[in-house]
């Protein structure tokens, strides 16, 4: 895949002597892993931030009044929906 995080290495001359990282894993859009996706119901959200706290992929944005899922990285694990105390997140089938 190609995105702004891609590190281009064509051969030996581009490489550091040892395997040293040159870029971030943000390059890897793990959203492609999921079969189900979390959908936020803003009216039910009480802004407790538990979904953000327990997300193993740190792809929930809580800068606003309710969580916004970053679907580029969300693996659809379902933890956020399970942990939400007010059922403000539901898991739905991933539609392609």
């Amino acid at each position: 895949m190609s995105n702004k995080y891609e590190v281009k290495i064509t051969g030996a001359k581009d490489m550091p002597p040892m395997a040293a990282s040159l870029g971030k894993m943000l390059y890897n859009l793990t959203g492609s892993w999921r079969n189900i996706r979390p959908v936020v119901i803003p009216e039910k959200c009480t802004a407790c931030s538990l979904c953000w706290k327990f997300c193993p992929d740190f792809c929930i944005n809580i800068d606003g009044d309710f969580p916004v899922i970053d679907y580029d990285y969300c693996k659809g694990c379902g933890v956020c929906a399970q942990e939400c105390p007010s059922e403000a997140i539901v898991m739905e089938e991933e539609t392609k």
Partner: protein
């Protein structure tokens, strides 16, 4: 300043003069005096270093790598079983491209338990990607440790300075300790290009697929090839600054030799006496000491062996199921060259003495073209 010191203490003084900053070591006969002396240098404040009293050699190598990865000049010493225990981390150090230096006292591998010298411990590690320097005397030991840091830090390849158990480790010889000021000029403070730095964070050693691993190894070998020029340059600089000359190999009366001995370690030292004695008796004997085993000095072996009537490689080691190790590598280097007879003599495993008369005996066999390839010199059947 001249001091009469053992090979082990020559190592300790070298680590001090080279300003090793972290030493992580575990005791093993016959290396113990190396670390005891370094400990007392640190305790006396003579050496500004942290001495980590690790709980095994595997940890010793790991901690030495860690210190180097953090940007410090790091050193350790070991022998035999200890070196073998480090094996995994020797690969790690070379592949991680950290310029650490290890002094290895060549001690034969057990079982059965032994403390005497042969080269199987260090030669077993020849594929790990380390430079290897085989020393002839205690001055050689001290100077090689200092040179090793300089070479390693320039090519990012770790070095192993090797010396024979007891014949060097515990034998006192006069050694000139170079002036600290001069050594500081020769070997400035280590500044790592790639290191663990919170200001410039990197991850080192992440999972690498077949699409990239190959080129990383290609780069290691490329740097080994580059290291040959670096070694020669460093040795020339050393000669200029300290007046002592070293080569990747050292010929002794080799040019017109009818029989050329190929030797290493203390056998090289004894061989010089054998050469002198033989010459007195009218036998044109010569020797070629291999000092750098890695990178293997193919070019110089080809140069010095060219046109020789008879070459006798004396191996104080064996690669079981195959051949004497120096013999294999010398033979390999000569493969594309016009054919000359190369004979394999095994001697001195487990510390059995290889005296002048033994070397002369081997030379006589080689002169007569008598060799079972190999001949196990002096084996009692």
């Amino acid at each position: 300043m001249k001091k009469v010191i053992t090979g082990n203490h020559a190592v300790s003084y070298a680590a001090k003069i080279a300003r090793a900053e972290v030493v992580a070591a575990y005791p093993i006969t016959p290396q113990t005096q190396v670390v005891e002396k370094i400990s007392s240098f640190c305790a006396d404040g003579e050496m500004e270093a942290i001495f980590i009293k690790v709980e095994s050699e595997h940890s010793a190598c790991a901690a030495t790598i860690g210190a180097s990865a953090a940007g410090a000049r790091a050193f350790t010493a070991t022998s035999s079983q200890g070196l073998a225990l480090m094996h995994e981390m020797l690969h790690w150090a070379a592949n991680a491209r950290v310029p650490i230096v290890i002094a290895n006292i060549n001690r034969a591998m057990g079982p059965p338990w032994t403390i005497w010298t042969d080269q199987n411990d260090s030669l077993s590690q020849r594929d790990t990607g380390w430079m290897q320097i085989y020393c002839e005397g205690n001055q050689d030991v001290l100077d090689s440790v200092i040179q090793a840091f300089k070479i390693s830090e320039q090519v990012s390849i770790p070095s192993m300075v090797v010396l024979d158990a007891f014949f060097l480790s515990h034998t006192s010889e006069p050694v000139d300790l170079p002036e600290q000021k001069l050594v500081d000029k020769f070997l400035p403070r280590y500044e790592a290009k790639w290191k663990l730095d919170i200001g410039n964070p990197h991850t080192f050693g992440g999972l690498t697929g077949p699409d990239r691993y190959y080129e990383l190894r290609y780069n290691l070998q490329k740097d080994f090839i580059r290291s040959v020029k670096v070694i020669d340059k460093v040795q020339a600089e050393f000669k200029e600054m300290f007046g002592r000359e070293y080569g990747r190999v050292e010929p002794f009366m080799a040019d017109d030799a009818e029989v050329l001995l190929v030797v290493s370690g203390t056998i090289a030292s004894t061989a010089k006496q054998a050469v002198l004695d033989a010459r007195k008796a009218g036998f044109k004997l010569g020797s070629l000491k291999i000092r750098f085993f890695r990178p293997f000095p193919q070019d110089l072996v080809q140069k010095h062996l060219a046109g020789k009537k008879s070459v006798a490689v004396i191996d104080r080691n064996y690669s079981f199921g195959s051949e004497g190790i120096f013999y294999s590598e010398v033979k390999g280097a000569m493969f594309d060259q016009p054919h000359i007879p190369i004979y394999s003599y095994i001697a001195g495993l487990g510390g059995r003495d290889v005296a002048v008369k033994d070397i002369l005996g081997i030379a006589e066999l080689a002169k007569a073209g008598k060799c079972d390839n190999p001949t196990w010199w002096g084996v009692k059947l």
